[in-house]
């Protein structure tokens, strides 16, 4: 057994211990702001470690703990995204928490690291047990992170509670599905399940098990109708947490879908792809139409990210290598794009409030910020020359290809719906742009006078994200090569 295999996880756990000890040792009156830098540096170190390690190029992939931990290229790639998101989230949190005088800063950064650890274990899960424990760990951490503004904002507590109750329900569904799967197959190992699925007969119990597992995972992915927590939670949570939840939580859920449905239960693709496609169709329609009538910027972005989860799932539904690569590329673009958008909205909300109208006149007040937000939302809508265009293009192409090659006409129809709804989404993304550049600023409104202050942490976040949005859009081939190598 190779105990050194989960080195990145150990690194993040070590970081958690550092945070814990710092919080214990440093006197209470000293601000915990420095912890944000500690976390960012720690995550940067782990990120460097991940980027330096090569994805295994030969089967069998290295595993540890009797196959309960898998260190394949998929895990490596998704971990890179998650740790990058965690780094950006710690940078974004620095001044956000300080400005609000949040008392639980030590705990906040601790939870952030522990959640990152959970997500890393999640994408490396080689076993339904690892998967479930990691999923619970990440959920519990997020419940508290969402409610960390408790006492300052009632909606934060409300969102935490709502998330907790619905999350517990979805965990129960998933666990019930897992227990049925175990009963049917006699194994909880994903590799064992894959071997079993290759030759097992279908039964009503199997359909129920798959439906329950898919529902549990769809909750984490926030696919309609398991999305009802998302708008409230995204709106009320501290903005850095929202950004982290929307990107890291979602990419990890994507990795889970790939691992559980595509890899382990690929033999039953004929059963679960119908379930998944119904969820996705509902997601495209509901989320994109729902976003149109939102007045709160974060709520609008919540609906947008529900819709984005639907696009990501196309790669899973296709079930092909191409689809997987496309999904990973899109996830990468999505991480930086969404973090950029939330970061700008966070800065603007400090002065202009959470409403969409707070963005008015941003194009004149802070042209840089406005430009980045515009680039981010256009990328999300899939407009060239930004990364989102290629992401969507690859995803749709993978779906169409798989639909034609494998003769799955439902998949073709689904991609068609996705294209149409993607055009609808342009509508609400452009509302944001219109607010910034066309709507006249209200001279009476508070905080709309001068340029928006951008602290150092936010500058770093925005710089990294803007660079990535442009890089993925203008010169994606090195990134595609990295993805291909990871998923060989």
């Amino acid at each position: 057994m190779n105990l050194a295999l989960p080195l990145p996880e150990y690194g993040v756990l070590g970081l958690a211990l550092v945070v814990l000890l710092y919080d214990l040792v440093v006197p209470e009156r000293v601000s915990r702001r420095a912890l944000g830098w500690v976390c960012a540096l720690g995550f940067a170190g782990v990120l460097a470690l991940l980027l330096r390690s090569d994805a295994p190029q030969v089967a069998p992939v290295p595993t540890a703990f009797g196959g309960m931990y898998v260190a394949d290229g998929l895990a490596l790639a998704f971990k890179t995204l998650i740790v990058a998101a965690a780094m950006l989230a710690s940078l974004a949190s620095l001044d956000y928490l300080e400005a609000r005088g949040v008392r639980w800063q030590g705990e906040y950064y601790l939870l952030l690291t522990l959640v990152t650890f959970a997500l890393m274990c999640l994408v490396s899960a080689g076993d339904l047990l690892t998967l479930y424990v990691a999923l619970e760990l990440n959920s519990i951490g997020f419940y508290a992170l969402v409610a960390v503004l408790k006492g300052r904002s009632l909606t934060s507590s409300e969102a935490g509670l709502k998330y907790l109750i619905l999350g517990a329900l979805s965990s129960a569904l998933l666990l019930y599905g897992i227990s049925l799967l175990y009963g049917l197959s006699g194994t909880v190992s994903l590799a064992g399940l894959a071997a079993w699925a290759a030759g097992a007969a279908r039964s009503p119990a199997l359909v129920v098990a798959l439906a329950l597992v898919a529902a549990g995972l769809a909750f984490k992915m926030s696919l309609v109708p398991f999305h009802m927590w998302a708008p409230d939670v995204y709106q009320a949570a501290p903005t850095p947490v929202t950004a982290f939840l929307s990107v890291a939580g979602k990419t990890a859920a994507l990795a889970l879908l790939v691992r559980v449905l595509d890899a382990a239960l690929g033999g039953f693709i004929g059963v679960w792809d119908k379930l998944l496609m119904v969820l996705m169709a509902a997601t495209f329609v509901w989320a994109n139409l729902g976003a149109l009538k939102q007045r709160d910027a974060k709520r609008l972005m919540a609906y947008s990210s529900v819709a984005q989860a639907g696009y990501l799932a196309i790669g899973v539904a296709a079930g092909s290598a191409l689809g997987l690569q496309a999904a990973l590329f899109y996830a990468l673009v999505y991480v930086f794009t969404n973090v950029a958008a939330f970061q700008v909205l966070q800065l603007v909300a400090e002065s202009g409030g959470p409403e969409l109208s707070g963005l008015r006149g941003l194009g004149r007040r802070s042209p840089g910020l406005a430009l980045i937000l515009a680039a981010a939302v256009l990328s999300l809508a899939g407009i060239p020359p930004f990364g989102g265009f290629f992401g969507k293009f690859y995803l749709f192409a993978a779906g169409v290809r798989e639909g034609i090659v494998a003769g799955r006409s439902w998949l073709l129809a689904l991609v068609g719906l996705a294209v149409v709804m993607s055009i609808v989404s342009l509508f609400y993304y452009l509302i944001l742009v219109k607010q910034m550049y066309i709507e006249p600023a209200d001279p009476e409104a508070p905080g709309t006078g001068g340029p928006v202050a951008v602290p150092l942490g936010a500058r770093l976040v925005l710089g990294v994200c803007a660079a990535m949005i442009l890089w993925t859009g203008l010169y994606p081939s090195p990134i595609l090569a990295w993805i291909r190598q990871a998923l060989f």
Binding site: F117, A118, C121, V148, G160, G183, G186
Partner: protein, 175 residues
Amino acid sequence: MGLREVLLAVFAFGALAFALAVVSTRNTVYAALEFVAHLLCLAALYCLLDAPLLGVLQVMVYAGAIMVLFLFAVMMLDIQETGRESAFQGPGQVAGALLLAALLFALLVFGADRFPAAALAPAAAPGAPGVGADNVVRVARALFERGALVFEAVGVLLLTAVVAVMVMAKRRLEN
């Protein structure tokens, strides 16, 4: 039918009866006590099914610690009867609950029918000597060899939960 089967039936029906009592009792303290009884029945079932370690841990953790804290909270808050009305409001809810229960039961029966024999076979011959001690060794091997990472992750999970509860529940002490 040996003693074992008789006891299995007794404790299985006991567990069911107490579980029903838990959800139908209005008095919260009674419900908690009935839940303890239910857990003890489950522990007895585990012991009869050659998983004595699980049974003992069930008593230690659930009946001895968790339910005590639960009773503590219930008694301290002095939660009395939770309203006069029945737990189920209207025939629709009763019918829905029964339907769902029937569905789950059918799923269990038909699903278990398809479970491979390996998943249902006992881990060791029933009543074999040393099953108890062997049980501990096997559980320990499973926990600390294959499951070491998950075990540690559960430890981290508990830490997270403790910190999360502190963040959510602790009031600010103003100097």
